[in-house]
């Protein structure tokens, strides 16, 4: 099974983004969320027995069974620094019961990479907490 989240309204063309701003993409999405909720269609695609589940670089034929699994609605945003996302390890192998990962090696590589980014974020959080504690 693969899934996609497709935006219901397209983002601005990249040509219209402010290329001098390092946070241009982030600013574009937050501006849109401020105007109205941003919606995505969540769609599941089911593999046939002869489809390769483990190689994310091969696409499956168009006629595979697709199911609309719901709509993702983003109503609000907050800064990443100090936000709720800070403490989360976005490890794609931490899955709820009933969902099993495939043998896809990219999942393993991402798991290791996210572990390292959590490690660095934890170190930053520790050091910031320590230095802000000293200033008080």
């Amino acid at each position: 099974m693969r899934w996609t989240a497709t935006p219901q309204t397209a983002a601005k063309k990249s040509a219209l983004l402010d290329k001098t701003n390092a946070d241009a993409l982030q600013q574009e999405i937050t501006n849109r969320i401020d105007q109205q909720p941003v919606r995505y269609n969540l769609e599941f695609t089911f593999a046939n027995s002869n489809d390769n589940e483990n190689d994310p670089t091969t696409s499956w034929p168009e006629q595979r069974l697709k199911v609309n699994a719901g709509t993702i609605v983003i109503n609000a945003w907050e800064s990443q620094n100090g936000g709720a996302c800070n403490d989360i390890n976005f490890n794609p192998l931490v899955l709820p019961e009933g969902i099993q990962p495939t043998e896809d090696p990219i999942l393993r590589a991402r798991s290791a990479t996210y572990a390292e980014s959590l490690h660095r974020r934890a170190k930053e959080t520790l050091l910031n907490k320590h230095s802000s504690g000293e200033m008080q």
């Binding site: 490690h119 170190k123 959080t125």
Partner: protein, 183 residues
Amino acid sequence: MNKSTAYPSSAKFFHWLMAIIIICMLFLGVSMVESLATWQITALALHKSLGVLVLVLVVLRLINRVFITAPALPTDLPHWQTFAGHLTHLGLYTAMIAMPLSGWLMQSADGRLVSVFGLFNLPKLIDSDLALYGLFREMHGFIAWGFVLIILMHVGAALYHGLIRKDHVLKSMLFSGKNRKPF
């Protein structure tokens, strides 16, 4: 006076079993945190299980240590070398306890249970806290490098005794027929 020149078999058993596991664990630990390979997940699970085994073994070893008599160091050894030897042993025991404990604490702070060979889970020691995860994660790494340093000193000293001074110190921990003693 203690006249034995060798450690009892129980001490040798703990020493060599733990030496093998710990050296494997240090290499495994250093290589798995740098790796994006598919075996990384399996390595992590193995690392955690073996870490629990080390913690159990070091507790048993310390209990055993109370009951055995360690052979005395040569009396002609310079005072600073005797002192350095005791300090190294203290450092080794401290690291053997601090490594698995900091590992267990960092897993708890990250909100994860430590699974022991898939048989059962260890309870969480503390609540999830990113800053504490950072603290114990850093400690785990620093202690590991300190551990490597102390092991190198320990091996260096053992070889110095065995190859240069040619005294009983290295032999006291080796399995040789002559020094074999009952429990």
